[in-house]
């Protein structure tokens, strides 16, 4: 039996090696897809990580507020600032409207004086009763407004970022000025020279971390490479369905199946041999695409695929095998159920494309609406992607693989049993 299964494996592999179009479909197409999709999705992924917004900055104040606001925005690292002080108001608005800059910030003339006046007024209202120098109630104070103008294309998340950044810096400036004023008043009251502590960090600390292993460098949870390499690897594995199913139908339609049916060995052996061959192909696809992620994508300016250590490589392999098994099982089922090669090609490719779309292959599931997220849980490609994400994103362990691997194995068993039944019906009339 082993000899016969090995014969079927060799035959399938040899058929594949002789089929240049098939090889291109199995290896060149997913390699191109990984590169193209990683390039296409690089910018959107950076939106959520380290992309910088282009800001044109018009400082009409030319005082502390204008200067310190600009310095604060530059320090945040989220903005690339261009000086637009020399622009006319019309040029300034046009530059934003035409998309040359995503954000325009205009600090009005006299903003520093307004800050100074309001701080002094507040301090006087507190210390006036002590020193007898307070301003009387009802004194009219000037106001100043920093204008933030947005390109309509800028997403809501970025608007929030700009708003929070500007407000945070302005609040900091107001607090600093108040502290400074209070120190002066206290010195006047006590007659001593006071040294006020410089507060650079909030008293209550903030720490951000990923819900998973620590990724190296300044990386955040996801980038284009880390999403696209596993996603298109899973897609490529499942796309073998088209070739596998087609070859099965081709064999059945020709006299070859009739000869095979009159030779020792049954349906199970033929299916097992075929699945083992394609399992090897799927693992080879996985190795190729991971190597592309690790070595080729960085060469074209994309983030490198990070695999954190040898244990994660082992885990990656363990994730690949049940995914490949599910893909090949689906392939033999499609091949067994189809009555023609066209039917097999249409059935296989349509199923895989739809399942990949809802399974989070094209765009991550987490940015889909809740209904689509729920639907995506039913896709075997989603389970495969989740299995790959355990070593690649979460740096998890074998136990964390189980929730994804278990449905893949169950799916495989169901497909294989159904394939054997359908194949027997199609061949032994």
């Amino acid at each position: 039996m082993i000899t016969r299964i090995r014969a079927h494996i060799s035959k399938e592999l040899l058929l594949l090696f002789r089929d240049r179009a098939g090889l291109a479909l199995l290896f060149a197409m997913p390699a191109c897809l990984v590169v193209i999709m990683a390039l296409v999705q690089d910018a959107p992924f950076r939106d959520f990580s380290d992309r910088q917004l282009q800001v044109v900055y018009k400082d009409l104040d030319r005082g502390d507020v204008g200067r310190q606001l600009r310095e604060g925005l530059e320090r945040s690292g989220s903005f690339t600032i261009t000086d637009g002080t020399g622009m006319t108001p019309g040029m300034f608005l046009d530059a934003i409207r035409k998309g040359q800059y995503q954000v325009g910030i205009m600090v009005p003339e006299g903003a520093s004086k307004v800050l100074e006046a309001r701080a002094s007024s507040t301090i006087s209202s507190v210390f006036g009763p002590l020193t007898g120098t307070g301003t009387g109630p009802g004194a009219e104070l000037d106001s100043a407004t920093v204008r933030v103008i947005m390109d309509p294309e800028v997403k809501h998340a970025f608007r929030q970022l700009v708003h929070a950044s500007v407000r945070g810096i302005l609040s900091g400036l107001s607090s600093d000025r108040l502290l400074d004023g209070m120190r002066a008043e206290l010195e006047q009251v006590t007659g001593d020279s006071l040294v006020m502590p410089v507060v650079t960090e909030p008293f209550v600390d903030l720490h951000e971390e990923m819900a998973g292993g620590e990724l190296m460098g300044e990386r955040v949870a996801h980038d284009s490479t880390q999403h696209n390499v596993p996603a298109w690897t899973v897609f490529a594995m499942f796309f073998t369905v088209v070739l596998l199913g087609g070859n099965m139908v081709k064999e059945r339609e020709s006299g070859r199946m009739l000869r095979l049916l009159t030779m020792p060995g049954g349906t199970g052996e033929r299916i097992l041999g075929r699945m083992t061959a394609y399992l090897m192909v799927c693992v080879a696809q996985g190795i190729l695409l991971v190597l592309i992620g690790m070595w080729f994508l960085p060469l074209i300016g994309l983030p490198q695929l990070r695999v954190a250590g040898p244990s994660m490589i082992v885990l990656l392999f363990i994730a690949a095998v049940p995914t490949a098994l599910a893909a090949t099982s689906l392939g033999v089922l499609v091949g067994s159920m189809s009555r023609s090669q066209q039917q097999s090609a249409v059935l296989g490719s349509t199923f895989v494309v739809i399942m990949s779309a809802i399974g989070g292959i094209w765009v991550p599931l987490y940015i889909m609406p809740p209904a689509m997220r729920a639907l995506g849980q039913l896709s075997p490609l989603h389970w495969g992607l989740e299995a790959f994400n355990v070593p690649l994103l979460r740096e998890g362990d074998l136990w964390e693989l189980l929730p994804s691997v278990a449905p893949l194995l169950l799916f495989s068993v169901v497909c294989i049993i159904a394939a054997i039944v359908a194949e027997r019906r199609a061949t032994y009339r």
Partner: protein, 248 residues
């Protein structure tokens, strides 16, 4: 009493969709070393009968035995005893002749050395040895037909079924196949052969059975001995009629 190589008792194959019998209670015995010609018009039940005798099709009723082995209960053992040449070219066109033989030989449990030895011998007899390393799809139809036969003989089975092995090929290839079949028959192999070439059957077979409507309607024990005025074709038309048998 020696066990016949092939024995069929009341074999029935009923079409589920039409309810008609393709093979209708057929009895047949083929002794070891016989060259049996199975003749009949289109739709007579020849291919269905061969499909049942080779274990591809499960009989609706009746039993069949190959060297005493029940074809349903002991299909795997039966498959080790038979060779089969289907009507279609049952080869991998992308493979060379040697690669085709290697694959089918391994399924029959032959080791590499045996496949090479038997394969070269048969390829030479079929006039294919010098092109044995070319992909089969580049070959002519006649060459493919010859390899189709060689593949069935590779494991030296004692019984070979041939379903129209010379259909649609040139005279030279047909002659080469005939010669190879006669050599194999001379070596003691039992052959069961279907064809529409009545003269060919007359020349090759040691016995001819004419089948129609799933039953044996005539039998000629020594077709070569038929007198000139008793041509097999006349007998064939006499027992099967002149009505056209176009398949729907």
């Amino acid at each position: 009493m020696t066990v016949p190589d092939i024995r069929a008792e009341g074999l029935v194959q009923r079409y589920r969709h039409s309810g008609t019998n393709a093979v209708d209670g057929l009895d047949l015995e083929v002794r070891s070393g016989e060259f049996l010609g199975l003749l009949g018009p289109n739709g007579a039940g020849k291919t269905t009968l061969i499909s049942m005798l080779t274990g591809v099709l499960r009989p609706t009723a009746g039993q069949a035995f190959i060297q005493g082995l029940d074809i349903v209960a002991e299909t795997q053992r039966v498959h080790g005893l038979i060779g089969f040449v289907p009507q279609e070219i049952a080869l991998y066109g992308e493979f060379t002749a040697r690669e085709n033989l290697a694959f089918f030989g391994r399924l029959q449990g032959l080791d590499r050395a045996t496949v090479r030895e038997h394969g070269n011998h048969l390829l030479e007899r079929a006039g294919l040895l010098d092109r044995a390393d070319e992909p089969v799809r580049r070959w002519s139809g006649g060459m493919q037909r010859r390899l189709n036969l060689v593949t069935a003989l590779l494991h030296r089975p004692p019984i070979v079924f041939l379903d129209e092995p010379t259909a649609g090929i040139d005279v030279q290839s047909r002659a080469a196949i005939r010669e190879l079949l006669m050599e194999v028959h001379a070596e003691g192999v039992t052959l069961v052969y279907t064809s529409h070439h009545l003269e060919e059957a007359e020349r090759l077979c040691s016995r001819v059975v004419i089948v129609d409507h799933g039953k044996v309607v005539a039998e000629v024990t020594d077709p070569q001995a038929l007198a000139a005025h008793e041509r097999l074709e006349d007998l064939f038309l006499q027992v099967t009629g002149r009505e056209l048998r176009d398949r729907s």
